[in-house]
Symmetry: D2
Subunit: 348 residues, 4 copies
């Protein structure tokens, strides 16, 4: 067996961070060498995350880029703007980077700056970065040194649309309505009133009515296939009282109703390990992918209507973040794509 | 003070039943004289519902229609097909009936029979029944002897659409997409696996993809204004891990984008006690109407789109069921419409 | 009908604050004239609490004591140390004060200062303050100008123990073990990581193992009856994933096993409106008092043991805080004790 | 690598069944050959459990004992009385049996019959059965052909008491009070009203006040060390609104307060893979063992008291059921004890 991949995780105190550590702990080809947090520097990882007590003996560090660059790959599980300040040195030394934040997701820099309200400081790497939706960019990811892991909503919606986009099946005059529902972990481990148990439980709401940062990212993915259809996107996220789990309920109309959409989906994803098209008539539930990297999809024609609905379901912390990041790592290092990711969903 | 209204509740062991009893216990003009349940006959109401210990001394009975007809009004909080077998005798003796079930909601009997898969046994009363959406039918309800209280999804969606229907603002070529989310109490107090805590919590799903019984009822309401638009309805319910609460996220397109939709809604509902149009930019949350009869509405134009979204939020057991039933009773008996219903939402 | 009581609420942005506002909105003898918050000054109450939109038109103010003293009664729903700085002026002007915080609960000032780690600034009012457990101090409360409303755990445990303390039934050599469980709203509306939805839901834990501030307060109540028994108190709180609700599971041994403990409890609380002793064999659930001021109690002999268990159940925001505060107000102003408090628990 | 163990699971449609299937799917030395369910016979396992879609192609069968006996080991994830009717044939053919039900847990048959209210039909195997608490019986389990996996509460309480029992540290005149809290999955996947989402969420209760079947089983374990102390057991379970997770809060008094209880626990469990004694002062939370086979323990002296508390925390479906069953299998077959069980807890 070959030598293990030396991995660093930057910003490992949030939910995508601890999820990465969970996955990397059991990954047979990984050795985690650095776990960084400015705030928790010097404390044991297992003190912040008692769930990791039997699995990590590391302390949080605040390493120089030099130390990070001794890793084979660095994951950034940080808020946006952190990765863009650190990637240059790492990439120059040959270290690979997988950024779970938004810094390198959008190719159009003015649009990025409009949505993230800050100047981009590593524009020269935006073009180089490969967008890390493996089902879309597998070949490019194999050769990538810098991968931008997609946003959770973006992953969920894009996987739901890829088959109809690839075959150009959508009616171009109809809006694509992506009514999305997310568990609260999507909001991260930040101490804000709306994320409190007493605020978020036994209730639900729509949010980001003025526009959500994942909107231009979904548009960018659609535009790879059709620029006009990208403009028909309507995206509205909702906060749902569950820890993990995300569903996109996507309403579309087809050019041609004689198409067998079930077959289109089954054919398109036949060889994908992590996309599971449910049998005709079945309905996904978020719990059925809890803790796993799987996306469960279903397509239905709506009752007495020309409207179709695509139900796309993921664990937002897995296929929507850390699981997908590890999937990218596997591809980048030539490992089996599901290595360390063949986790069975936790039910109940 | 006038004499109290003598009230019976048939089938009071479910969630709409106990909610009715909660409301009636504090209603200043009501005396509950009969609470029926075949299954729990002879047991104290407070034994089945310990929350009512300080409020009711009654036992569940299994009365003859003769006894029920001595009430001024009988609520049916029963599964469908119960009310249709009992209303004739009650109405003939002059007792008023408020049916929370579906027996008298649909005017088109073949459609009712298609959806409920049973022969209707009181077709002669279907025409007489007044559809109990007070905001739509207030004048008719004042004179009604038999009221069919609307379904929860139907109430939620219809209140969201009334202002645009009444003013004929909708684009006729675009689907009306009602993506609805409901708490688990909407499924009733029945011991079924999918409603178990371990199945329904920390998860979500769409359901009734083959068509939901509230679909023809919403269509019937829209068709009062425009038969063609009724055919554009797309309705998909989702189960959300909360006890109470319902939201309809309704996507529409307008004929004319110059309309001030916020003003249309504010004007339309200006005098309605139980419909609260939120200020421009605000977003409703289901917890803010928990335990109250209020519907909170908001309208938004979607980001970079010609699509509008209407957010309609109710407590499914209140404005969606028992609260609305009591509102109907108040109107039928000439009482102040909000008598006994001015309950402040329970937050947190 | 007599003139309404003019009420101010200081610090109304937390959970006990909004709960007070909920109760006062429907109280027939109350007019809320001032709602204060330094932080939210100038904003509509209904903007912070959309659940109150139909009930309050007030804005948050930051009034001088002079303005507050024009109220008949001022509620402090503040963190500790706020009330102790403001009561002198109010009391001197004849305004009554009900303090929901801990400032006047403990008679022993050094012990207060030890637990709250700050110097007490109104020691001269500590003696004058009446401890607002109505079931213990009703006669004193009638004449009180300053009432210290008890802590939530303290209310729950003390109501469970009063009957056996009053009759001196406890074995003096056995620890009184109060294993307590609380919903998350007990931690208040403060943006702290452990209170986040993703931290607190689907999990539970004991806390305050080094001692909880309600410990000396429970001891003080027990010591009114027996100083030695007060020293036998063992109190351990647990955080449970529910919004509201609190249960004390109290394990005791009796001097004499021939006592009919069920009868002792029923007799002791026979005339109490808000304490409900369940029938022999019944078990309380927190949901059965949700949103109400009721304490449900049950007593059981443990299987094959000389140990008895007392189960005491309240809504921590109601009988454990704001409901009890309004109950005190009713007593202080000579109103019916349950005025505005005859709310039916919200089930489900 | 040696040949895989051929495994059958009888009664795999409940929560311990699906949890077993989750664990066995990733176990490197296991091949699942038979999954039985009388009710679901002929249906795909993945149809009943869509979470297993990518992991099992099997259908539920209703095999004869002959077929079952071709397995190397049969797990019974059935209600009690099923295993006792089937073990004889299996054991006679040399198949090993791990019974997750209660049939072989109690050595005293009259006591078993008293608690389970049915005649025991395999009394000759009760003596032969090894009680499957690996931390207590490892050596016996290595040679066992029939293992009775302990109850969830029993595991949780016994692991909390083993160190003080083994060293005879308990004061013999004081009750051992085990106040236990369990998630709802402990009640199984049965469609009963009290387990509904709307009944069990946002609420809590004690239950089984008349005695719980795990009581005699805990007593049996204590009595292995001291028959008198076994009689001091007080055990009260509570239902908590979480899916998985169990905590025993155990109140004890020691003979001698000079003992360093922290050290006693650390020494006792130093070599146990699945028992994790937290550092002095730390407090376990159930989420930190979610989905894992780990028991987290902490010991504390209570504030100003001679009482100690032991906090014992497990995932009731893992160390409390299926995880422990697989741990037993590993021991019985001479595998590494943690093979297939080194799962990182799912946080958040």
């Amino acid at each position: 067996m070959s030598q293990k991949i030396r991995v660093s995780v930057v910003g490992a105190t949030g939910y995508t961070g601890v999820e990465l550590l969970r996955l990397l702990a059991n990954h047979p080809q990984v050795e985690v060498v650095n776990v960084t947090s400015r705030q928790e520097q010097g404390r044991l990882v297992s003190e912040i995350f008692p769930s990791l007590r039997s699995f990590y003996n590391l302390k949080f560090t605040n390493p120089h880029d030099d130390e990070l660059s001794q890793s084979d790959v660095v994951f950034f599980a940080t808020p946006h703007t952190v990765a863009m300040k650190q990637v240059a040195k790492l990439l120059q030394k040959g270290t690979k980077v997988i950024d779970l934040s938004a810094d390198f997701r959008l190719k159009n820099i003015p649009i990025w700056e409009q949505w993230y309200k800050v100047k981009h400081e590593a524009t020269e790497y935006v073009k180089q970065a490969v967008y890390g939706l493996v089902e879309l960019n597998r070949e490019k990811i194999k050769k990538a040194q810098l991968v931008a892991a997609p946003g959770c909503y973006v992953t969920c919606v894009t996987l739901g649309l890829l088959p109809v986009l690839a075959q150009d099946l959508l009616d171009k005059d109809t809006n694509i309505i992506a009514d999305c529902k997310s568990g609260v972990s999507g909001a991260g481990k930040s101490a804000k009133i709306p994320n409190l148990f007493c605020e978020a439980s036994d209730s639900m709401k729509a949010y980001a009515l003025q526009g959500h940062r994942h909107f231009p990212e979904i548009q960018q993915n659609i535009a790879l296939f059709d620029q006009d259809i990208a403009k028909k996107l309507v995206f509205l996220p909702h906060l749902i009282p569950m820890i993990r789990g995300m569903q996109a309920t996507i309403y579309i109309r087809l050019k041609d109703d004689s198409i067998d959409l079930q077959k289109v989906f089954e054919d398109y994803y036949r060889n994908e390990k992590f996309v599971d098209v449910l049998p005709q008539g079945a309905v996904p539930e978020t719990k059925n992918v809890r803790g796993s990297n799987i996306c469960q999809l279903a397509v239905h024609k709506m009752y007495e209507s020309d409207c179709y609905v695509i139900l796309s379901t993921i664990d937002n912390l897995m296929k929507g973040a850390s699981g997908q990041a590890v999937q990218n790592m596997n591809v980048m290092f030539g490992l089996a794509e599901s290595l360390g990711l063949d986790l069975v969903p936790l039910v109940p």
